[in-house]
Amino acid sequence: MDQHSSTLMQGRPAFSSPMLKAAVLALLFILLLSAPAMLNAGLLFWVGMTMIQAVFALSWNLLFGFTGLASFGHAGFYAIGAYFTGAALRYDFPLPFLGILALAGIFGALVALAIGVVALKRLTGIFLAVLTVALTEAMAKIIGFSPALGEQDGLGNIPRPIVGFGVFNLDLTHSNDYYRFLLVAVALMVAALWWVVHSRIGRSFRAVREDAERARFIGINVTRVRVLSFMISGGTAALAGALSAPWTRIVTLDQVNWLASTQPILNSLLGGFTSFWGPVVGAAVYTAINYWTRTFAGLSEMLVGGILVLVILIAPTGIVGLLGKLTRRIRKNGDRT
């Protein structure tokens, strides 16, 4: 397909053929598109949340897996989008829904820019981790004191929108319709993130992750690259949150606390942060675990926490990395015979 063999592909020969990969993605898209016909409303809700969590995880992993920065307060960005969209729909802001989504993304990116300008120059590693956690907690406190945002009870009764396209209107008030809109939006965002990671920008991100000092000495403005990555990541996380508000129809403080921030970390690590698709796989696996253990209090945390520790200790590249190793081994054996 392309004469330039990217390093990214080498990390995961599990899907080494681009044709195969495209076929798998197309099949997945068709399956997801026909989900409303096959699943009941409860299960469909889980599928929709998994898609949102997948984008959220991808946004986090752009930062961690591809730029080498760990945010432990990513739920803050998600909540910015969710609360903004929830309030805009609930209080009938005179804005088209697509405009609301765009604004939510821009807000997320601007907050990331502000944090980045103040902090990223000096703060990496543990300090960035603590700062992002603290800012998210501070935001949760502020929301908890804002009557317009529902204080401790959350912002409920969020109506689903009707999207106007000028000549025709797209009525998304039924959950099946909103689900299809969500699927298309998620697919577009995943495609956009894929482009970022595989483009010239993405290559400069990876250079910074690999060795910031070396990157500086090939003329890369490391601070700018980090801030840019933080902005794209924050904007995408806010968009994921924005898409979630009409889906869940309630936005609560549970989506802002620092445990919520760990969801994308879990998904990325579980699936494998070295691969672009790892966070998506992780989100799906996590949902499955959560779904099967939902009746036992605490079991899902034990499983997920335990798996996370095991992943770090045994297979830091996650499920996708393991698959890659496996196929490589099988292929090697095949070559020998």
């Binding site: 432990f72 902090a119 543990i126 406190k141 605490g298 899902s300 945390e301 034990m302 996370l308 520790v309």
Partner: protein, 293 residues
Amino acid sequence: MSSQAIFVLFNGLASGMAFFLVAAGLTWVFGILKILNLAHGAFFMLGAYIAFTVGGGWPASIWSFLGVALIAAAAIGVLGYLTDQLVLKRLRDVDYHYALIATFGLMLFCEGAAKFIWGTDYQAVMPPPEVDRAVVVGGSYISVYTLFVIGIGVSVFAALEIIMHRTWAGKIMRAVSNDPWMAGTLGINVPMVLMVSVIASFALAGFAGGILVPNQALSPHVGASFVLYAFMAVVIGGLGSIRGTFLACILLGLVESANATFLSQYGGIAIYVVLAIFLVWKPTGLFPAQGAT
């Protein structure tokens, strides 16, 4: 001093000492292992649950209360040994991101286990009868339990200071913290020092759990809310510095207490403002330590 100011002062000091009891072990392990143990709060929580299970909701006397706290300390110390052998030991030479995420997984595991064993309902433990009353200080009613927590916090700090700066064990500890390789060539059994530090830090978390359990409604999430303050204190104080952490805890406790009294409609916000100011103004903390990146 007005009675309100005295109230703020004592409550602030008590919160600060409560933060310190959790933060001390955190900063100790960071100083020695260079691992920020996100699971520290979860072990604090487990300590509180063990104290609740062993001692029940109504401690008979302050001595049995302290005894129960020591049992919790011992139990968590044992868990610390297991955690060190199974997990932390393998994280010593990996990228700090992995260590952060692995200890985070550990935290989730502990919280899940607590939910699984004790359920999600809130539990309550009363302070022991000797300290379950109030005294008047400068026109303000101060609970004796508050004074008790302050006393325990200061004692733990004094003990750590003496151990770290006056004893042979402390010298070894600091040598390992500064340069484990060099310490190893001098014949110090570095793995042993690391293991003992981890066990001691965990035991401290368990002890804190036992001492502070009357302070709040006990739930599997009590650790998460507590450890966040401890993190802030550790970062403001300078990672790995027990003195810095102690001062930062007092500062945060006083800020939190003043915030709750004078700006109660925005309770809990000021502490984040203080943290943000410190992170931007002094990103390496009050007492910068080696290995803090």
